[in-house]
Subunit: 504 residues, 2 copies
């Protein structure tokens, strides 16, 4: 199958990916070890590399080779090669559809708006941010128009499609609507429950070095290859699949709540296992060596963080090890206590501090609001009111100020619209995959209880990671679970776990 054109095309993509990988390292270094005064020089390096990457991805030769491959039966008759070509076409069109002037303007306005947002949030001053948000919304609308969207759809679809290829806002709505209703109800029932869950057991003062050592124990046990990766400390945890054989995770340590770092580490490790599981040895730079979507990526991080990490079997294995490594309040804790303490569900204002259940309500609220902003049905000036009203509806508490309301996230300031829903899509995919995994691996809880994570990791490697982007997210979900993505598995998971804890 590998024709001359196909091989040349893959070579060009590999070159573009190598350029991008260099920028990934620049970003990682900036967050980890770069001395403060290196900032201006770093931004020169980054913009130069971003420009070279964009140029490499959009060069005309790629378009020529694509056309040759698309009309070559030998290539298109091979399912994997055809999928590669399908996704290369998608990427190339996306990359070439935007006029460079618009890309530059979004970058420029984004960087200014982000500065304004920082101050607006600090001073709880939405009015300061509003004109910049308006500018950004109108730029995003222009961007969406350039991308285009399927007939019968809406502008927002074009933005969502960038992060979750093939997904439309009406599909999201169909899933989110029942999820929101039943989740809201669950949260309300928990709030009304007389059973309170103690979390004091989690607030022991444990030095960062001990937490770091324990994090590495967990990574190793779960199969993250530390010879092909690292764990470092940053203000905002992330995972960067820099290059083949080089996947770096970061976390942060608070002395007073060790589970923050532990679950942060397991979350990023979920992303990292996906990166390490992609067939980069054979397909680096090609869609076949790349991750499907943000939603699928998030499903991997959420699975290890929540479905594994917040389960009783996990604590059965982890508690004795945590006692040895961390000591403190853990010496007296029981598995049941820990399991309950890490599974509380309590409405709060800040998304990034929300628990597993309420988190999704924060996300759905943002999806509805940004969809309204892009369609024009919601004006920027009406944003705070709309936010606060919906927030109270879904979570039952009143937003005290915009700082803890619509000003809390950085995303919109630099133009991330269509990104938020992928967080909850990740939870939904994770839940739906998890049910299938447990039917395939009958004794998985027992394995986890013994610290055997290999069967689970192999399942993920084989059924999800190894395919790269051969299947779109929706097709993969159908292929694996036999059903389209739905709200039921996640609801079953949350209700099944929280019900007993709160005595519902």
């Amino acid at each position: 199958m590998p024709t001359t054109a196909y091989t040349e095309l893959c070579g060009l993509l590999r070159r573009a990916a190598t350029l991008k990988s260099v920028n990934e390292l620049l970003n990682w270094d900036q967050e980890t070890y770069m001395p403060p005064s290196g900032g201006p020089g770093r931004s020169d390096q980054q913009s130069l590399m971003a420009g070279l990457t964009h140029k490499a991805r959009t060069e005309a030769r790629i378009g020529e080779l694509l056309k040759v491959c698309e009309s070559d039966g030998k290539v298109m008759g091979d399912a994997r090669a055809a999928a590669n070509i399908r996704e290369i076409r998608r990427d190339y069109d996306l990359a070439t559809k935007l006029p460079p002037a618009l890309v530059e303007e979004i970058a420029k306005v984004g960087s200014q708006a982000q500065e304004v947002w920082k101050h607006a949030r600090a001073n709880n001053d939405f009015a300061k941010f509003a004109p910049w948000l308006e500018k950004m919304v109108s730029l995003q609308r222009r961007k969406a128009e350039c991308y285009g969207y399927p007939s019968g759809g809406e502008l927002y679809d074009a933005l969502l499609d960038e992060y979750e290829p093939g997904m439309t806002s009406s599909q999201v709505e169909v899933i989110f609507t029942p999820l929101r209703a039943r989740l809201s109800d669950l949260i309300a029932r928990i709030a009304a429950s007389r059973k309170k869950v103690g979390t004091k057991i989690l607030t022991s003062k444990i030095p960062a070095e001990k937490q770091h050592a324990f994090g590495q124990v967990v990574l190793k046990a779960m199969g993250f290859d530390l010879a092909a990766g690292r764990l470092d400390v940053t203000t905002h945890p992330f995972c960067s699949g820099i290059a083949p054989g080089d996947t770096r995770l970061t976390t942060r340590y608070r002395d007073e709540k060790f589970t923050d770092a532990l679950y942060g580490t397991m979350h990023e490790m979920g992303h990292g296992l996906y990166e390490q599981g992609l067939p980069k040895d054979r397909h680096y730079g090609e869609p076949l060596g790349d991750a499907i979507s943000l939603g699928i990526h998030e499903s991997q991080s959420r699975m290890w963080e929540n479905f594994v990490g917040r389960s009783k079997p996990f604590w059965k294995w982890a508690l004795p090890r945590a006692r040895k490594a961390l000591g403190g309040s853990l010496m007296k804790a029981t598995v049941d206590q820990l399991h309950a303490a890490v599974n509380t569900a309590t409405p709060s204002f800040i998304r990034v501090e929300a628990d597993e259940a309420t988190y999704n309500l924060h996300v759905m609220l943002r999806f509805e609001i940004e969809r309204g902003l892009i369609s024009g049905s919601l004006k920027v000036k009406d944003l705070p009111g709309e936010w606060n009203h919906r927030f109270h509806d879904y979570l039952g508490i009143k937003v005290p100020d915009d700082r803890r309301g619509c000003l809390q996230d950085v995303h919109w300031s630099f133009g991330l619209f269509g990104y938020f829903p992928t967080y909850t899509l990740g939870n939904l995919y994770a839940a739906q995959f998890w049910e299938k995994i447990n039917s395939d691996i009958k004794d998985l809880p027992k394995q986890i209880g013994k610290g055997e994570f290999g069967t689970l990791k192999s399942w993920l490697n084989k059924n999800i990671h190894a395919h790269g982007r051969q299947y779109r997210a929706g097709d993969l979900c159908q292929r694996i679970t036999g059903k389209p993505l739905g709200a039921d598995p996640l609801l079953r998971h949350l209700e099944g776990k929280l019900g007993p804890i709160y005595g519902l």
Copy 2:
């Protein structure tokens, strides 16, 4: 003065420097934090960036703009701009004189020869390495022919000029000849002296973390800006002036000899202070923002390592601090004991382990031998014999095997010819500058004894660093000291220090 052509030219150089700075980070990361499996991906990144850097440095537009500037009285009438143009021309010619096929062949043979050398050294098997060294010598001769050299000179001059612009082998010979004779004599007198210097005081078991903390204390006191730099740990210490505001040092810690790391750190810091002192804010990427030569760079590292760090005043300041930070055997040490212990002079076989005095004999030996290889007066097959014979002559001890003789250094295997002499040139420049500095700053020893390094650093900033490459090394030396580079200051320094220690 800044004409359109001049400005455009500087912009192109800045872009090339930014590309190179990215490769510097890739190299730094490879030695510090890259996970082992990242190797193959890293080498793809490095060769891609090296190619882009070379392309950016050799693009035809630079040649066009150079011509415009060279014939523009407005540019050439400005001493600094003219110096910039002079050096840009030099760099451009050097970069464009070599046929790409030769560059590639040197890189390819170099990487293979380096592997062969590793095994040859491990197995003490010069015969295995000999054919590769012959290949490399003949490639270096071809390189030298492409570069060309002044009339009356020799092929080796072309190679030396790459690292020490403007310096010729006959100039080096004129300085090295008396240096070698008097140094050999000094070492022989020391060997014959009945006074032995104890070094037991240096061999206290001190954990790496404590040494690292003390290293940072020293860096801070001496004015290395840690907000614009870092200190990390690598197998082979180095300094990388990655980008403006980002200068990174590395060192290595041995539990059992804390002065190894201390002087390693001070050595790299000398390089680092030079990098931080260059006017990169205004001239990044231009010769005016760049270091003059390897010899001048080495003069800065040697000055802090040997002229400051191995002096009595330094220990007067450092000992109480070292006691506090390191403890161990230092608790009972005196300034005089330490000063003597770090200034022993004892012939040994390995260059990188040699002391301040004997080191130069190792270097001069290599200069003579590589000069002979390039001129053809020495055949590769005769190298071991010639090495051992000269070594015994200069250092008075017999080389036991090639592993500890002519196979010990990596340099020749990948084509570094003309590089070795810059090590001793650095010591010579340092000594000559040091005499002038002490006549300009009369109470410098007193200042150092109090831990006041600011006047010294400012002197170096003003008289050396700030100029970038405005002056060639020889001109700078003449300008600062009123004399051409000579052997006397270094000999005075060594004889003056070692004489009393060994009771000569």
